[in-house]
Amino acid sequence: MFKHLFKLIWNKKKQNFLLMSEMLFSFLVLFAVFTLLVYYYNNYKKPMGFEYKNVWVVNYNNAYKATNTDSLTQFYETLRQNLKALPDVKEISFCSDNVPFSQNTWQGSVNYKGNPVGGVNQYTVEDSYKNTMTAELLEGRWFNKGDVAAKNRPIIISSDLKEKLFGNERAVGKLVGDGDQPGHDKNAMKIIGVIQGVKAKGDYAPAGYAVYHRTDTGSFHSLGKIMVQVTPGATAAFEARLYKTLANYMKDSNVEIEHLTSKRKDINYFTLVPMIVLLIVGGFLVINVALGLFGVLWYNINKRRGEIGLRRAVGATGNSVSSQLITESMILATLSLILGTFFAIQFPLLNVFDLPASIYIVAIFCSIGFIYVLVFLCSLYPGKQAAAIYPAVALHEE
C-alpha cells in the first residue's frame, strides 16, 4: 500500500507542490522559533554563576576631585570603612561599570599561542568581589594582595573561556595575550583562577567569555560601582540609611542604589519580550498554516470523492480510506521534512550564529515532531469525513 501511495503522490507532484511548500515553510519558521527557545532554555538551565539575592549596586559618578591617586584611594577606602561599619552590610566591593544585569558592556580579546578569541567581557574587580558576589571558583585561587608584585598581570577567567582556550586542560599558570594580534603576547597575563561563568545578561543569555582583572592603585579613577552584599533581612529603612551615608560622604556625586534582583527581572524582561513577540507571531503563523492545511486537505478530499467511492466499492473500509488519506498527508509531510532538514542541518554544519550543534539538532527534532502532529491533526477530521462518504452517492456524483 505504501508503494501505491508513493506512486499516487509522485504522479500528483504538481498538485502536491503547494501543500509541500507550505509544510516546508512552516518547518523552517518552526525551526527558527524552536532554535531560539532551545537556546534560551539551555541558558536558563545553566547556573547563574553567582548569588544575586541580597546584593545591591551603588551607582555613583566619580565626582571627587582628587589632587593625586593616593588621596583618591584614601577617599574611597574611608568610604569602604564607613559602609562596612553599617550593621546590615556583609561585604562590599568596588568594580567597573559593567556589573551583572546592566546594559554596560566592555569587551576585548585574548589570545593564546596566536589564536585570538574575541567578544571577551572584561571586568575590573577587587579582592573582595568573589565574596560579595559569592562567585564559584572552579580552579586555582581568587586575587589577593600578593598579586601586586606578580611578574605577569594576574587574571581570572570564566569556565567558558577556559574551555574555549584550553579544552579539558588545566588553565591555571598559563599565559595569555590581551589582544587579538600575536604581537600582544608580550603583555602576557597569567591565569591564576577559573570561575563558573556568570550570566551577566540574565537567565536566558549565555555566560559567555570573561576575564577578571584585579584593581590597582589607579583604578578608582575609572570605577563607578560598588557592589554591596547585605544581610537577608536588610530593610528599606536600612537602604535609606545607606543612601544617606553615601550621599553625605559623596556630596558631589549622584548616588543611586539598585537591587540585583530587580535588575535581573528587568533584563530578563528585555530578553523575554522579543521572544514572546516571536512566539505570538509564530503561533499565528502556525494557526494560519493549520487552517491552510486543513482547507487544502478538505478540498482534496472533496475533489477525490469519486476515487474514495471507487475504493470503497472495490474493498476499502471507511477506516482504511481515512487511514490512507492521513498516511498520504504524513508522506507529504515526510518529503517536505526531508527537504527542510537538509536546509536546517546546514546551520550546525556551517556553525551559523556560533551556537552549539545540539541546539540546532534539538530544534530540528522539535520542529519535525510539531509538523507531524500538526499535519496529523489537520488531516484527522478530513480523513474522518472521507470515511463517512457514502460510496453509492460518491460514485453517482462522478
Binding site: N11, R312, A313, G315, A316, H396
Partner: protein, 221 residues
C-alpha cells in the same frame, strides 16, 4: 446467486419522501447475464447499488452467494465486495493519476498477496481485455472504449463471481459498445461469471439472458 426479497428504498429529506424502489423481488441464477432497463430515474442504479452492497435498502432482504448481508459490519461488507463483486461504471471511475496497471491492481491492494502476484493478475486481466500493450499508459491517454476495458479488467482482476455493470456502454459509440458487450459476454460464457447490467440500449439488453424492466421504482417485467 443473488436473491432480492421485497426490496424497498426510500430517500427522505426534511420535507420530501421519495420511493425509489418499491417491493422488488428478484432471483438471479449463477452464471446468468441479466439486464435491467427502464427510463431515467426509475431506480435502476439504486437497485444495482443495493445488489453491490454500496447502498442499504430501507426494507427487504438480500442474499448473495447464499449469504445474508443484512447484518454485515462495514469491514465484512468491504471484504465481501472485494472477494465476490466486480463493478463497472458508465464513467469508468479510473484514477487518472495512476497508470493502467496500477488502476487494475486496485482491488488486490485490499487483499493479502505480494506485489509480484498482484502485477501478474493485473497483467492477465489486461490481456483478457486486449490491453496488455497499454499497461504503462495513464487513463487520459486512452480512448473511451479502452478506458472501459481497463475498468472491466479492474472488475475481473480479483476473479469475482458477480459483475455489476452500470451502463457500461453508455458513454461509448455503438462499435465500441459492441466491443465491450462482447467482452462481457465472453466473461459470462467462458468464465461463468454472473453479470447484472443496467442499460438504456435495447440491442445490448436483448443480447443478455434475461431482461428486467423497471418503471417508477417497480418491476414491470
Amino acid at each position: 446467486m443473488i436473491s432480492l426479497q421485497n426490496i424497498e428504498k426510500v430517500y427522505r429529506t426534511n420535507t420530501v419522501e421519495t420511493l425509489a424502489l418499491n417491493s422488488i423481488s428478484l432471483d438471479i441464477a449463477k452464471g446468468e447475464f441479466l439486464s435491467i432497463m427502464g427510463p431515467s430515474g426509475c431506480g435502476k442504479s439504486t437497485l444495482l447499488n443495493i445488489m453491490g452492497l454500496l447502498d442499504q435498502p430501507s426494507k427487504g432482504a438480500i442474499k448473495i452467494a447464499d449469504q445474508k448481508t443484512d447484518h454485515l459490519s462495514d469491514k465484512q461488507l468491504a471484504n465481501f465486495r472485494n472477494q465476490k463483486l466486480g463493478f463497472i461504471f458508465q464513467s469508468y471511475h479510473l484514477i487518472n493519476d495512476l497508470q493502467v496497471l496500477d488502476n487494475v491492481e486496485l482491488p488486490l491492494l485490499y487483499r493479502s498477496g505480494s506485489a509480484k502476484e498482484r502485477r501478474k493478475l493485473a497483467t492477465e486481466a489486461l490481456e483478457k481485455v486486449g490491453l496488455a500493450n497499454r499497461i504503462k499508459h495513464f487513463p487520459n491517454q486512452l480512448s473511451g472504449g479502452q478506458k472501459q476495458r481497463v475498468a472491466i479488467a479492474r472488475a475481473i482482476v480479483g476473479r469475482p463471481e458477480i459483475i455489476l455493470a452500470d451502463e457500461p456502454t453508455g458513454n461509448l459509440d455503438s462499435a465500441m459498445g459492441n466491443e465491450i458487450m462482447d467482452i462481457l459476454m465472453q466473461l459470462n460464457q467462458k468464465d461463468g461469471t454472473t453479470i447484472v447490467m443496467v442499460t438504456h440500449d435495447e440491442n445490448m439488453a436483448h443480447k443478455t439472458h434475461r431482461l428486467v424492466r423497471l418503471f417508477d421504482g417497480s418491476q414491470v417485467q
